[in-house]
């Protein structure tokens, strides 16, 4: 099967989406943000001048505009670039887009996609390193997507644009150079289907976004030492495929959750709470969460590494649940 880099698969999806449906407009033109590959997006921009538009620095305004356009027939994909900037648009996303279908009694749809790059990008410091997906999961009415591989980013982006709901597409710039198989003619990946990224019988590691790749590395290393780690990637938080997670746990009966949102009220907290509601008696050890520490993200590299869900913290957690 052909192999692509993550950024290539993402661009391919964007071009195919633009070609397939002229209701799709791209609002904000830096889907590759500051990555060295960013110039490659220009091709799409030039090919669809009338459907790629670069707005003012007015996140609240252009996110609201996208929601309104989605309510009236378009399928806008908004690029917020750095995930932290979604906070500028918070009222339009959590209080307009998320509520529109419900408040109208199911009569108004807002098929908009908000694309953002979350997490620790490297020296982003406290104001440019956010992972807003936990807050967004606490806001009913939004679909939340977290790709972690070239195949997933392509298949999930296509589905994101096709659903009739507001969707937050939470990407991570550290994934862009990851290579992996992507079939030429690949179907969109339906939401609510977790993916077992690696099979193993000793411990279940539930990981999201860039943390999936980090956990796969760790699993590789522990594999050598004879520890069989199963890496489960939910791929979408809303909707959540809990069945796949539970059946993996049935097998391993030991769980570590690795996610980049801050620890308190983070994604790992929700997954842990749900797992324990369902399989309390089945577990051989308390669930361990490896999340970003409850600290604003510091600028200096060694500090940044210290607060993030690093390989060493992941390994320590896995070993502790195996004891």
């Amino acid at each position: 099967m052909r192999e692509l880099a993550y950024y290539e698969a993402k661009l391919e999806a964007l071009s195919e989406i633009m070609a397939a449906d002229d209701r799709v407009h791209l609002i904000g033109g830096s889907f590759l943000s500051l990555s060295p590959r960013r110039m490659l997006f220009k091709k799409i921009e030039e090919m669809y001048r009338d459907r790629v538009i670069s707005p003012p620095i007015s996140e609240l305004g252009f996110c609201g505009l996208a929601v309104g356009a989605a309510m009236t027939g378009l399928r806008p994909v908004v690029d917020l670039s750095t995930g932290s900037f979604i906070y500028e648009a918070w009222p339009q996303i959590v209080n307009e887009a998320a509520n529109a279908f419900y408040m109208s009694g199911g009569r108004t749809r807002a098929p908009v996609v908000f694309h953002l790059l979350h997490g620790i990008r490297g020296a982003g410091a406290a104001q440019h390193s956010h992972s807003p997906q936990a807050m967004l999961w606490n806001s009913p009415g939004l679909e939340i997507v977290l790709p972690s591989s070239p195949r997933d980013v392509r298949g999930l982006l296509k589905t994101a644009v096709s659903t009739d709901n507001p969707t937050i597409f939470v990407d991570h710039i550290q994934l862009f150079e990851t290579r992996g198989p992507v079939p030429e003619s690949d179907d969109p990946i339906p939401f609510g289907r977790a993916d077992i990224k690696r099979k193993g019988n000793d411990v279940t590691v539930v990981a999201t976004s860039y943390m999936v790749q980090r956990c796969l590395k760790v699993a590789e290393r522990l594999g050598v030492e004879g520890v069989a780690v199963e890496v489960v990637d939910p791929r979408t938080l809303v909707p959540l495929d809990f069945t796949t997670i539970l059946s993996s746990i049935e097998k391993t009966r030991r769980v570590v959750i690795v996610d980049e949102t801050h620890r308190s009220c983070g994604v790992a907290a929700e997954l842990a709470a749900r797992i324990l509601e369902e399989r309390f008696d089945k577990l051989k050890a308390p669930i361990r969460r490896v999340a970003t520490l409850d600290v604003p993200i510091p600028y200096s590299p060694p500090l940044e590494d210290f607060v993030s869900p690093s390989e060493s913290r992941i390994i320590e957690a896995i070993q502790s649940v195996l004891r």
Partner: protein, 339 residues
């Protein structure tokens, strides 16, 4: 001044304004009788904008409105029975009781989304205009909001984008003079808005803007008719500030009816408590319209009274309908989260 329109149309305007007035007066009664409990706002005093203004739209146009939406919906032909049922949280409401007074949506009438967040709809309306333009449709978007919404940064951001991208949107600011929801009196220049006149703000963004007397149905109709024409033509956004005097019953956090409107007050407001008398005599767009109609021999006092009886009947029927509509099944709360 009366709109230069055929008699039938003028009488239809009169009927719609009366319908709004009677609906809102009845609503206050239903609230005070405990048939619904939440915070709510009525449209009394702004009927000219809703009726004469929105009559200039085509059926395909989009409307975005606020916490003060009842009059806009009725002006566009909403069914008073379903509107009232929604406000009472009943199953037969426009939104199955999920939206309520702040959030009545009726896409078939153009009301895509109604927000209780001040300023919330301004970017949304720009978005609908963006979609209309992208689809080369002749639709335009109308954004109805209060003067207070101009204090939100969302308004400035949306004005900028609408102007830059020449979006077919009418920003229709209903300045009811004094602020709502228990805020300090906004004498002009207001205590909460440094921009004065308000049209200086859209103008800074190169949006052509105009101030009109929102009590005068004729002035409202003419200004909005012209604005809609230029917008539909592709000349970009327009801003209109329709100035009205706040209805005394809306000065408190919860509406109170100082005196139920009598069409006869168009000639003699004697019965009205002095506090509110001036408003009904000189600031009420409905009574002013009736007075003009009669003086212009377009109708008679009798015809008006007949019309009023008629409208009261519709409202009584709507109330019966809404009150007898069942509450939704609790489990339906779990429906309509995702399409």
């Amino acid at each position: 001044m009366l709109p230069k329109l055929p008699r039938e149309t003028l009488l239809d305007f009169c009927r719609r304004m009366l319908l709004i007035r009677r609906f809102e007066e009845a609503l206050v009664g239903l609230h005070d009788a405990g048939h619904f409990s939440g915070h709510y706002h009525v449209y009394i005093g702004q009927e000219a904008t809703g009726v004469a203004g929105l009559s200039c739209l085509e059926s395909g146009d989009y409307l975005f409105t606020t916490h003060r939406n009842h009059g806009h919906l009725l002006a566009r032909g909403a069914d008073p029975r379903r509107l009232l049922a929604e406000i009472l949280g009943r199953r037969d409401g426009y939104n199955k009781g999920k939206g309520g007074t702040f959030h009545v949506a009726a896409p078939e009438l153009g009301f895509v989304h109604t927000s209780g967040i001040v300023g919330g709809i301004i970017p949304l309306a720009a978005g609908a205009a963006y979609a209309a333009k992208a689809q080369d449709s002749r639709r335009i978007a109308v954004c109805l909001f209060g003067d207070g919404a101009l204090e939100e940064g969302a308004a400035a951001e949306a004005f900028n984008i609408a102007s830059l991208w020449k979006l077919p949107v009418l920003f229709l600011c209903e300045n009811n003079g004094k602020y709502g929801a228990g805020r300090s009196v906004g004498a002009a220049p207001s205590l909460t808005m440094a921009v004065h006149p308000l049209i200086d703000l859209p103008r800074a963004y190169k949006i052509s803007a105009q101030q009109i007397d929102g009590i005068d149905s004729g002035a409202v109709h003419q200004a909005i008719f012209d604005a809609v024409a230029t917008i539909r033509q592709g000349d970009g956004p327009r801003f209109i500030e329709a100035q009205t005097v706040r209805w005394p019953g809306s000065e408190t956090n919860w509406p109170v009816v100082p005196a139920p409107t009598e069409v006869a007050m168009a000639w003699e407001v004697g019965s009205v408590p002095t506090a509110a008398r001036d408003w009904y005599r000189i600031s009420d767009p409905l009574l002013l319209f009736i007075r003009d109609l009669v003086e212009a021999r377009q109708t008679t006092r009798e015809e008006i009274s007949e019309l009023d009886r008629n409208v009261r009947g519709i409202i009584d029927d709507a109330a019966r309908f809404a009150l007898s509509s069942p509450f939704p099944e609790p489990e339906t709360a779990l429906e309509d989260i995702f399409a």
